[in-house]
């Protein structure tokens, strides 16, 4: 398994079924790119753009007297971004399709290789749920390649964060979606940065662990300076501050990485957590 990243565009339609359990595909698929996606989906288009999606193929299925079903098939160009966009919304039941999946409220989402797939019934019934899962299985089987998750995830300690609920992303807008830090991009995130955000509970307190990798060490240093100046001007020691809720935020930079722990129950815990991440970083 590798981080499958393909420059070649495939015939996405060949990976999707034409009919399942009486739901037949409409004659024509529709296709969108990062410029035209807003013609199809509203503000959420920004999410897929933020993960550098290359193409979206939409196939609608109809069956008389039944709710319509829509497959939104995203070619994300890399497995890292397919995984990443999947982690944008992790709520739901794991239905073991592809390399990671969730089902909730008439919506099946999964990723496999460089593809992220959303299959949606306009109304949820027992029958549509069964069809959605069967469609998902069919699409997942048609995708031959698997892909690796981002290696950055490995720096998060399994005993400190819920690894099944980690978000992977690139930019400031997605960071703020999951965990609001600031209205301005004080961590200097962009499409070339990689970030993982995990949540854990320690001593009845929910902490947030954020690790960002920058394309260059110098950029990481700049971002660390920007973050600490804005977020912790009253730091009790470099990279450590007690926030207004009595909890602690700690930040550290090493090479091309920044690690930040928010909402730690004590300064000691915050430092321990940073140390654990650093140890894992040094083993990379």
């Amino acid at each position: 398994m590798d981080n499958c990243s393909s420059k070649e565009k495939k015939d996405l339609g060949s990976l999707l079924p034409q009919e399942i359990q009486g739901w037949k595909a409409e004659e024509k698929d529709r296709s969108y790119d990062p410029q035209t996606i807003f013609d199809y989906i509203d503000g959420a288009g920004e999410v897929y753009r933020s993960y550098n999606f290359r193409e979206l193929l939409v196939r609608r299925f109809k069956k008389e007297g039944q709710p319509e079903i829509v497959i939104d098939f995203f070619d994300m160009a890399s497995s890292k971004d397919a995984f990443g966009v999947f982690t944008h919304d992790l709520e739901g039941e794991d239905v073991s399709i592809g390399q990671g999946s969730t089902y909730k409220g008439g919506l099946l989402s999964f990723w496999k290789g460089p593809y992220f797939v959303s299959i949606y019934a306009e109304e949820e019934t027992e029958e549509t749920k069964e069809v959605l899962l069967n469609m998902g299985e069919a699409v997942a089987s048609a995708i031959q390649e698997e892909g690796a998750k981002p290696d950055l995830i490995a720096v998060l300690p399994e005993d400190e964060v819920d690894v099944g609920m980690v978000h992977y992303f690139h930019n400031h807008m997605i960071l703020n979606y999951h965990f609001y830090v600031a209205d301005e991009n004080i961590l200097l995130l962009d499409q070339k940065t990689e970030a993982v955000l995990g949540t854990g509970i320690k001593e009845e307190n929910e902490h947030i662990l954020l690790v960002v990798r920058y394309p260059e060490t110098q950029r990481a240093a700049q971002a660390y300076k920007s973050f600490t100046e804005v977020y912790m001007p009253d730091a009790v020691e470099p990279g450590l501050v007690q926030t207004e809720d009595g909890l602690w935020t700690a930040a550290e930079t090493k090479d091309d990485l920044i690690v930040i722990i928010f909402n730690a129950g004590s300064s000691l815990l915050a430092k321990e957590m940073i140390k654990k991440v650093e140890d894992r970083m040094s083993r990379r």
Partner: protein
């Protein structure tokens, strides 16, 4: 002067207050001095508003709209009330919303259009549009706008609001996406829009209170509220709608569950842009119709 950067810590500082409004009000200066007058918002509900999902009852909707507008304007007769909003010489754009899953819909559009015509505006000087507003001859020349859209959670702005409904007046929509669409109110100061809005209608017949997936929609997360919120101040209307949505989420999820993206554009429209009033203490809310499950 350098713009103050708002961080999570600003919210923590005022956690005991209304978090967003408090933080933003303390951190930023409003463009205009706020009026001491309360903004009036009317909520009207009728159990018979819906025949089925996305299929409102035309007569009931007309009655609800009339009740709301007469109450808002302090008139007994609906046509007299509409004449306070619209002059016969006006060119009127009815700003609709065509979102596939819960659109404004023809029934409501036509109910509004009828009253605009009753106020003396001929058919040729009225247009109803969402995506075509920048190309529409009527909208380009409009002297008055009526803004009507359904309330729903929104992936990027927290809530699809009356404020947000004007985003199609701009060509570069992504420009307004940063910081969860914080500065949507800016659009309301653009020449095609500024000072033209006579009425805001936030439709809450079956609002979407939680969104999932690329389309941000599941019928599982809608409920029959059978309501319409009406006001002249878009910020007050939206702020009221937000309170109802938050209460519904609290009930449904069984715990406090804030919107995934805070609908801060509503508060910033007040505190940063001076467009209207978001503080409930400065909103006069008049409730008509049944009270069961009203959430406010």
């Amino acid at each position: 002067m350098k713009k103050k950067i708002i961080t999570r810590r600003d919210f923590l500082r005022v956690a005991a207050m209304t978090p967003l409004a408090g933080a933003l009000a303390s951190g930023l200066k409003a463009r205009e001095k706020p009026s001491l007058d309360k903004a009036r918002v009317v909520l009207v509900r009728d159990k018979n508003a819906l025949i089925s999902f996305n299929n409102p009852h035309p007569e009931v909707i007309r009655k609800m709209l009339d009740e709301a507008v007469t109450t808002l304007l302090g008139e007994k007769d609906p046509v007299d009330a509409w004449r306070k909003l619209i002059k016969p010489s006006d060119i009127v754009g009815i700003k609709s919303n065509v979102w596939h899953y819960i659109p404004t819909g023809r029934v409501i559009e036509q109910a509004i259009k009828k009253r605009v015509m009753d106020a003396g505006v001929p058919d040729t000087r009225i247009d109803i549009s969402d995506r075509r507003v920048r190309r529409s001859r009527v909208f380009k020349a409009a002297t008055a706008l009526i803004n009507a859209r359904p309330a729903r959670t929104h992936h990027w702005s927290g809530l699809g609001t009356c404020l947000k409904n004007y985003v199609t007046f701009v060509s570069d929509i992504p420009y307004y996406h940063p910081d969860s669409c914080a500065d949507l109110a800016k659009i309301w100061y653009l020449p095609q829009v500024k000072g033209k809005t006579r009425l805001n209608i936030l439709i809450m017949l079956h609002p979407l209170f939680h969104g999932i997936g690329p389309h941000h929609f599941s019928r599982n997360y809608t409920w029959e509220y059978n309501g319409i919120l009406v006001g002249k101040d878009p910020v007050a209307v939206d702020a009221t709608g937000l309170r109802i949505m938050q209460a519904k989420r609290r009930e449904f999820f069984g715990r406090e569950r804030p919107l995934q993206v805070p609908a801060k554009h509503i508060f910033l429209a007040d505190t940063r842009h001076g467009l209207g009033v978001s503080d409930p203490d400065r909103i006069e809310l008049i409730k008509l119709g049944y009270k069961e499950g009203i959430f406010i």
